[in-house]
Amino acid sequence: MSEKVFVLGGEQTDFQRNWTKEGKTFMSMMREVLDDALEKVGISYDEIKRLNKENRVAVFVGNFDAEQYANQGHLGAFLTEVNPALFGVPGARYEAACASGSVALDAAITHIRAEDYDLAIVLGVEVMKTVSSSVGGDFLGTAAYYDKEAKGVQFPFPKLFGKLADVILERYELKEERFMDALAEISRINYANAKRNPKAQTRTWFMNKEHAMARGGDNNMAVGGRLCITDCSQVTDGAAVTLLASKSYAKDYAKKTGRKFDDIPRIKGWGHRVAPITFEAKKQESVGDKYILPWTRQTVKDAYKRADLDVKNIDVFETHDCFTSSEYAAISAFGISEPGKEHIAIEDGTIDFGGKKPINPSGGLIGVGHPVGASGVRMMLDLYKQVTNTAGDYQVKGAKNGLMLNIGGSATTNFVFILGK
């Protein structure tokens, strides 16, 4: 596995941008991000044309809900609008709610591993600022079991992850104050990290621990049980691209671009598990288990096993902090702490930027922003930056191996990838 699929880099859009306000569309976003990614990686459209003649290149588009947000489907074919060099290139759209980027990555990895293609362009994209937040919240409800969990509910997802917070608190018999403080610290870390990331949605926003702790009132409204605005990632427009390659192509690429082949990171492991779709079923199923999200933990374990690595080998994590409660649960799923002891890893600085196991140096979904279908691809791009020492101001010193967890729904679709050299 670890000698089969290589990552050549990519690019993301500035997640602060509001493309509707700019009078632009998801298609313009695709064009900009693909042009930028190819330029950054050093692969031209002529090279794509060359590979396409031999049927060695394909495109994989991750997107959750362009039908509702942009009234457009069939996105796999849409890259042909971006550049005529893509005429004829096999392409399809992949959807798994907020893990749409990962399911596109998974398909690309599988094809390269099977030696079907030498180069895979994985593009995650979502425009979300086309509608009001309440209409958007309803669209997002389709990532849950809409009829049972979202129909007629305002902002269903904060409520589902608010329930996760409730279950964590009850199951592990935590002191509420300490637990809520830990969630506020997760928020603080993500916003603080985002300040170093020039593409982050919240890089100019005000946030500190004091504000994250001040839950309630007009300026930090409750939106899902115990969870308030500061516990939530916020929707944004955005796209990200990563380019994956076979070993032979990566070797040629290294030669052509004057890079060292050994410096190109490879996918070392992956995990993919699907938990019961409703939160209530998840809760019932996990009774008696050490983990409240056992399938998330299993996905991480699968990836470690395939990579023949363990938590001690991972230097940096990118996790799906759609809400502070999801990042909280991920800490034990990664094996950083025992389940029920996550707050200690938060309190002692383990997951902070300068800690032993930094989580989300990019800022995560809370800090960078969460354009749903793009988040998985963005996480892979951030792992690439970290393990190639190209993350600039948010570089984790000496990072060699990175792990990402991208989830769809209420931790329903779970995807983990490990990238390293």
Partner: protein, 436 residues
């Protein structure tokens, strides 16, 4: 990093005072003395500050006070005194005398002036005071507009300037642009040059569509969210006049004549039609009985307000479509190749804007990144250097300038072909400032 724990804000109830105070109390975590003419006004300023940065956590460390009762005590315990009172020497100078008497050595004092001489205002202070006196030109609203022009004068100490710049950047999250003490500094000098010359062209082409036509020609596809004349209407014609008069009276550059206030601006100001804040100026919006709103535009010839016209200018439509699809170079190609007087005007102003921005490097700022930052972060206009790249590089831009008969700045003549001219790309994606 310079430690700034206590700050005094003078003019705490104004939009700039409360907004800046909010930023300082939130990002800087500072205790802030909020001073206004009376305590009630200061309290209103505190609430406005809380609303601007949307956090209740700052309320407890903001202390209301009045100039009469609290100025000396507040200043004496402050690390930074930020004065944001009305924009005139007559108002600022007497207050500076009081601050100068009360400040401790080492305390920074700054003003938010958008055009007054910082060197002249600094004269109220002793040597230490002059060393620590600056212009900190925040833009409105401060939380959203992150530009701060840090204006220095000959009496400043480079080490203090560096420490203050670092604090504004790293702690308060400002995009800091360093400018010399010249009239209107960088952002307003460039921005109001364009706005005022566009206003003259509106007069020249009054028969063909005037104000509305010129704003259409200079609309989003030329790299700005709002037309230049709509911007003048938004900031207020009185403010516009104050800025261009100051530049006209105190500078002598190649664009000198373009800073003369157009006669119709003065007429509107005399009639109290100052822009949006007074219910009408270059344009006005009328709410009809059925609730529908209708926009009107001032007819320079007749002095009446006409219904705001719609235009159908093929090259603008085509350029907009290209921008909509993120083909920025394609859009600029359309502008370069189009024929007709509207296209000539568009080319002239694009050239003029780049030419004038780059010509100020050396006089107003030390590097082009400072003018680029001022326009990108302060006006949300595509910075001049980025335009050079979208136009196809220095040679192509020079060609355009020569056709439009505007001076070619040395910086551009010396620029290397084939290399990106815009260097702020990692901080500000200039593409986001074009509107399709």
């Amino acid at each position: 990093m310079r430690e700034i724990k206590t700050v005094t804000i003078l003019g705490a109830n104004g939009a700039m005072g409360s907004g800046s105070a909010g930023v300082i109390a939130a990002f800087g975590g500072a205790k802030v003395h909020m001073l206004a003419r009376d305590v009630e006004k200061a309290k209103q300023g505190i609430e406005a500050a809380v609303a601007s940065v949307k956090t209740d956590t700052i309320r407890a460390r903001m202390i209301p006070g009045s100039y009469d009762a609290d100025l000396e005590k507040a200043v004496a315990e402050s690390d930074w005194v930020f004065e944001l009172v009305a924009e005139s020497y007559e108002v600022k100078e007497p207050i500076n005398i009081r601050i100068a008497k009360a400040r401790r050595p080492g305390t920074i004092v700054s003003t938010v002036s958008s055009g007054l001489s910082i060197g002249r205002l600094a004269k109220a202070y002793d040597e230490d005071g002059q060393k620590h006196y600056y212009g900190t030109h925040f833009f409105n609203p401060p939380y959203k507009m992150i530009l701060c022009e840090l204006v220095t004068h000959s009496g400043n100490d480079k080490k203090v300037t560096q420490a203050l710049g670092e604090y504004l950047d790293k702690v308060l999250g400002r995009a800091v642009v360093y400018t010399n003490d010249t009239p209107a500094f960088a952002g307003n000098r460039i921005g109001f040059q364009l706005m005022n010359e566009v206003a003259h062209f509106a007069e020249k082409y009054a028969d063909k569509g005037g104000i509305a036509l010129l704003d259409e020609i200079m609309s989003g596809y030329t790299g700005r969210a709002m037309g230049p004349l709509a911007t003048a209407d938004f900031v207020g014609l009185d403010v516009h006049k104050a800025i261009v008069d100051n530049i006209y009276d105190n500078t002598k550059d190649e664009a000198h004549e373009t800073f003369k206030l157009p006669g119709y601006f003065q007429k509107l100001i005399d009639a109290g039609k100052l822009g949006m804040k007074s219910g009408g100026g270059l344009t006005k919006v009328v709410k009809h009985a059925d609730g529908k709103r209708e926009k009107f535009v001032y007819n320079i010839k007749t002095g009446e307000y006409d219904p705001y016209p719609k235009f159908d200018i093929p090259f603008i439509k085509e350029a907009r479509q290209k921008i909509k699809e993120s083909d920025y170079k394609g859009a600029m190609d359309v502008v370069k190749k189009a024929s007709g007087f509207e296209a000539d005007i568009a080319r002239y102003f694009i050239s003029r804007y780049i030419s004038y921005s780059l010509s100020l490097v050396g006089e107003v700022v030390d590097t082009k990144e400072n003018t680029d930052g001022a326009m990108g972060f302060g006006f949300n206009w595509v910075p001049a250097s980025a335009f050079v790249d979208f136009l196809g590089g220095p040679k192509e831009t020079i060609k355009l300038m020569e056709t439009s008969k505007v001076p070619v700045p040395k910086l551009l003549k010396d620029a290397k072909e084939g290399k990106k001219f815009y260097e702020l790309g990692d901080k500000l994606d200039a593409r986001s400032l074009f509107k399709g």
